[in-house]
Symmetry: C2
């Protein structure tokens, strides 16, 4: 229930992290692993490190992205294992008050019983990666600045992507993306097979998969059975296809094998590595960015998120249908909220000098640059320029902060629809990124799924709350087009805003799914002629939306080169000290290694030992709320006193079954569901969380405090064997023990 | 928030615990301390152990009972310190939605601003204890059995109490009680000064005093500022008096001094002792009693309490006035609920053989008795008889279990009132214990305070819920008088019961305080003529209430001698093995000693270290719910980074201030608020909790796992000095440091 949210706080320009090859830290690109082969062997890797660098071979070929999570193939029939919290949306959309899969869990009796995952669920399997830096920043682009530079970069990227996706004829079933490393110092073209028929196979009961809930989120000791199973399906021809009952399970090129609890038992101190798709880290942000984040933007965000959570709780109380609709939103928001609070707390009460260290690094960089005329000429101006432009960007972010919270969901849909209609008048290659033909299906699915996640009463309350807050600001600071479009006035209170929203909602048909989807086929003129209130508002806001986008692109384009050169300077500076860098996380495949290790001190008043056990589930169980283990599980735990839990009990743990473990792994949001492998590349765990007092690692990695929390596969197998009787899946994974 | 509830599960006959003098275990009677003096000195006691045996001298003379909690004098002006959760009821009754002392805390600016504590709040200071075994079981009584024996014991006790309380003329201001030790093997007459003008002086904000709330209740690591201050007031003549603005602070014979953080800093491994009034333990219960408790009565109780808590939460949701009214009930119930769950969990998942060990002890006792003809003659029949009678008592308890949950609060009041009226026709000495002249004020206050704790909607829902459950039982098992009195029929569902209760409530005036109190002055005939529905129901139920009481007394009287002789046999058996016994807790003053020590293992997945610090408050703070520290406290914690927290910071704790600590102290409900003293008898802490995985210690003490949780006085002083600015009280306690 954790590393799910890929920080939306990150801006367009990705940045990077500096380190020499230090075990525990480092989200290494697989192709970098041969460089750190010696350290990995010394730490306990038993296989050839060269093998890990090969993306399409075992084991990396078995690791796939779900977009905001990671999963891995665990059978020759496309069975995928990931976290329960990663499959949460799919469990939710298949749940009703009468058939509450969220609460009771789900186990498909046969292939035919497997349920379609939430619309939009995709499996992306990386098949090729190539360096395209010279094509993205070609000679012509290198001379540009401002919006022209961003437009040129986007055009180059789009053309690379289009060519890549066209290989093998359309629809190729491939999705390509250009990823930026080191803040635009390097670009890679990533080609992925995109499987779009994904089905829910098995999820344990909420009392297992979410055991501990919000209370235990980001907490150790932990006892969460955070696993679920999907299956990838393809058409009869073996190629990706839309959902169809006749589709067949995908045969993956490679799949992982679960480590045997008998012949490969995982112990404290053992080597582990994790492969996955971490979303975003900010370890090489400039000092001013860190200062702004923790002094301005994150505190404001924490406040707004707390208010949003309160509103959801109040507005859905006692309405189980609304609760189910908002469950996923609430879980995601609550998780991110707790994460940001943890970061903020570490920063506010820091005694190690996080900002001072960062400032010292960049001061040293500046001294190093200015100490040499050639370096000064190369980088000097860019360092200054970057600082100026970041300040300008921060001013805008501050002024427009609340806007992101004020938009009714249906208005957001209307804006997307109108922008799509506008963009469809252009040749596909000239359309904005995200609004091309290749993006239409994703938009359609988002519009479809809205029904399952939209609760009008909650949405109105939320929007009214933040609009009233926004309208309380200085009148001359307010966005006039927004006020005009929704009929708002400066200083209106929440009740007045709410009354306006009632009227706007009443005058729109967009809550109706068919009506909403129909707009996908209408042209801009139809929007302009419409009297639907949200459509009309989207049309009225369009010019200002475009103006702000242009303004932001202009700034981003001015910043792109100086920022990249600042990072280049840092790379050179660190290299001069003999240090190797790994890039900051950017949702591409990364590998990290470490060991199974507790922590001293743990939380204030404790030391953490590396494993939890079944015994702790019974100890935490209260029978309600966050600690409500299923009775059949509790019975099995009790029964286990005598039977020693089959092959899954561990003598060193008093004979009990390990549930979760701590490891010195460097992970972040997006890593959820990542396979954790032992030195023989066998599956020993699923990464699912970190600890709240170390989520600041996204900005400042501290090897003393940073631990990842991993589901022990022995717990998953025990639960599937003795409680949920998932025999079909166990056989499919080659598990014979009982 | 914890050791508040004195287990209501205990029956009339108290039992006792066996042990030789083992540090950490043993709730010693002060007069036993010279027997274990050597062990105490070896453990680190610096003062004369003989001194501790003197109840009216320093330090024991400073330790007083609040009934269900302990407190101690900490100034020459009657200032008392106890736990926040012990003063919770007094904070609650002084709170309104407009002036929410529960939430914001309270600090009286001067003596005149100190607020009356909750009606019924008393300070009981022990002034004398004498052995009265020969008077309670005198020669005549020793020959009796059944109800006659109980009546004779009660008569003897009442006459001892009356004589004791008459000393010095009426109203003497003394309250006397006869306490039973070792299940009636020994009786003591305890004489206490009863101070009845008690005022609330200071309570921190709920975010301090209840920090962690239900989530952290019975949990380590812990960060609760569980302290509050009362003051004892007496009349101008220095004698106990009813509340009067002209009353003066009581000058106690002795008061404790808070240990200096500079000259007497408490460290890990240090000797500590605790003096207080533990309520009830069950360590020497017979095997059949333990089996019945954990197989039948406690599981049923846990279920009913969980349902009660759900009903309170639902029925008061969104009504802040009802929430405040039920806050104390809910907190107490929730606390007891969690305690019982913890006991049950330890028992259900026990791997150490709790019941087997108990059974082995009593089997060995039986063998020892039967191995010798004289012993066989002395005890043999009693051992058998005790087992038979306990089985009979369990059968009744099982059949009537639900009745205790079915009574509307106003019906309970009506029953009390009618019984008082009936009893008042008898000479005082012949009235039932608890219904004599000396008890009237307590009854009056309970009737007064009902207004502040009674919410009709909640009460109806609770009663209807359990009545419907009760009525679903076999028709021939139901209590006919109860059904007749409330107009109920077997098998009625909750809605039908609720409709009946609506009618009964509507036909009663008892919800009106004046009306309720007026019944205190009416005779039995007036009750019998009344058409008030609850009064009429009480009259209708009276005969059956008496019948059941008589039945229970008959059984208790049959059991009294055999049970006491069983315990005598055990004492003799243990003595033959060289072991000394301490009696089970019975709300009399006890002393226990141990050391400041963490625990390995702690919770599953952790090791506990002995101290928590301010740093952990900031880490746990979320800004809402159970972890909502006040902003001024958080600011002071942040500021403390530089200033080292005045004299309260501890280098070994990273310079932070210790908040709570763990000690190997043997405590239970009733010990809450107990002063924890260092080897020099200086106040270093307030006992306030244990850990949930060791509350089974009430039945089965395990020195490896049992720890008490103590508020460190350095945290209290830091909070009072730097956050709450309680300068007046600090000066009064002689604290000058800042």
């Amino acid at each position: 229930m954790t590393r799910f949210i890929v920080a939306a706080v990150a801006t367009a320009t990705a940045v990077a992290a500096a380190s020499h090859a230090h075990a525990d830290e480092g989200m290494w690109m697989p192709q970098q692993l041969p460089q750190i082969a010696k350290a990995m062997k010394a730490a306990g890797l038993k296989t050839d490190p060269q093998q890990l660098a090969k993306l399409t071979e075992f084991p990396m070929g078995a690791v796939i992205s779900l977009g905001d999570c990671t999963a891995s193939f665990v059978s020759p029939l496309g069975l995928l294992v990931t976290n329960h919290h990663c499959a949460y949306g799919s469990i939710q959309v298949n749940s009703t008050p009468e058939r509450d899969l969220l609460k009771n869990g789900f186990l498909a009796a046969s292939l035919a019983d497997e349920l379609p995952a939430a619309p939009g669920t995709r499996v992306w399997m990386t098949v090729a990666v190539s360096d395209v830096t010279a094509q993205v920043i070609d000679a012509r682009t290198a001379l540009l600045t401002g919006k022209a530079r961003i437009d040129a970069i986007e055009a180059n990227e789009k053309s690379l992507v289009a060519a890549c996706e066209a290989e093998g004829g359309a629809p190729s079933g491939y999705r390509c993306n250009v990823a930026s490393f080191f803040a635009g110092v390097q670009f890679q073209l990533v080609k992925q097979l995109e499987i779009r028929d994904v089905r829910l196979v098995h999820a344990p009961a909420q009392g297992v998969g979410l055991f501990g809930g919000d209370t235990d989120n980001w907490v150790w000791p932990r006892h969460t059975g955070d696993y679920s199973f999907y299956r990838a399906y393809v058409g009869a021809d073996g190629k990706p296809a839309d959902f169809n009952a006749a589709n067949k399970p995908f045969v993956p090129p490679h799949h992982l094998t679960v480590a045997s609890p008998v012949t490969s038992p995982l112990n404290a101190g053992d080597f582990v590595m994790v492969a996955g798709y971490p979303g975003r880290t900010n370890r090489l942000r400039l000092p001013s960015e860190m200062d702004f984040a923790f002094s301005v933007s994150q505190p404001a965000r924490i406040k707004a998120m707390g208010e949003s959570l309160d509103i959801i709780a109040e507005a859905t109380a006692g309405r189980r249908d609304a609760e189910i609709k908002l469950a996923d939103t609430k879980a995601g928001l609550g998780n991110y909220y707790k994460n940001l609070q943890g970061q903020q707390e570490s920063y506010d009460f820091d005694t190690t000098g996080i900002l001072a260290r960062k400032t010292a690094t960049f001061d040293a960089l500046a001294r190093w640059v200015n100490a040499d005329a050639k370096r000064q000429a190369l980088y000097g101006a860019d360092l200054v320029r970057t600082a100026q432009l970041l300040a300008a960007r921060q001013a805008t972010a501050r002024a427009e902060f609340l806007l992101q919270y004020t938009t009714p969901q249906l208005l957001a849909s209307a804006r997307t629809l109108y922008l799509l209609a506008q963009q469809q008048t252009l040749p596909d290659a000239q359309r904005k990124a995200g609004y091309q033909a290749r993006d239409l299906l994703r938009h359609r699915q988002a519009l479809e799924v809205l029904d399952l996640r939209h609760d009008e009463a909650t949405d109105k309350r939320r929007a009214a709350h933040f609009l009233a807050q926004y309208l309380a600001g200085p009148a001359d600071s307010l966005n006039a087009p927004l006020l005009a479009a929704l009929g708002l006035r400066p200083g209106m209170d929440e009740a007045a805003v709410k009354a306006r929203l009632d009227a706007v909602y009443a005058a729109s048909q967009l809550a109706d799914k068919a009506e909403r989807l129909a707009w996908l086929n209408r042209d801009a003129a139809a929007f302009q002629a419409s009297s639907d209130s949200f459509i009309a508002a989207a049309v009225a806001l369009y010019a200002d939306d475009e103006r702000r986008e242009t303004r932001d692109k202009e700034l981003a384009g001015q910043l792109q080169a100086p920022y990249a050169r600042t990072l280049q300077a840092l790379i050179a500076f660190k290299a001069s000290q003999g240090q190797v860098l790994y890039p900051d996380a950017n949702s591409t495949l990364r590998v990290n290694f470490g060991t199974v290790t507790g922590r001293t001190p743990g939380a204030d008043g404790s030391i953490w030992t590396p494993f939890t056990t079944l015994r702790g589930i019974a100890a935490k169980h209260t029978g309600s709320g966050d600690f409500n283990a299923p009775q059949n599980q509790l019975d099995a735990i009790k029964a286990g006193k005598a039977s020693h839990y089959g092959p899954y009990g561990v003598k060193a743990l008093g004979g009990s079954v390990p549930v979760n473990f701590l490891a010195t792994l460097d992970t972040t949001g997006g890593n959820s569901g990542s396979p954790v492998l032992n030195g023989k590349s066998e599956l020993v765990g699923l990464l699912f969380d970190g600890t709240l007092d170390a989520v600041i690692a996204d900005w400042d990695f501290n090897p003393k405090t940073t631990r990842s929390i991993v589901l022990d596969t022995r717990y998953m197998l025990w639960q599937m064997t003795y409680v949920d009787k998932a025999d079909r899946l166990l056989r499919e994974m080659g598990i014979t023990a009982k």
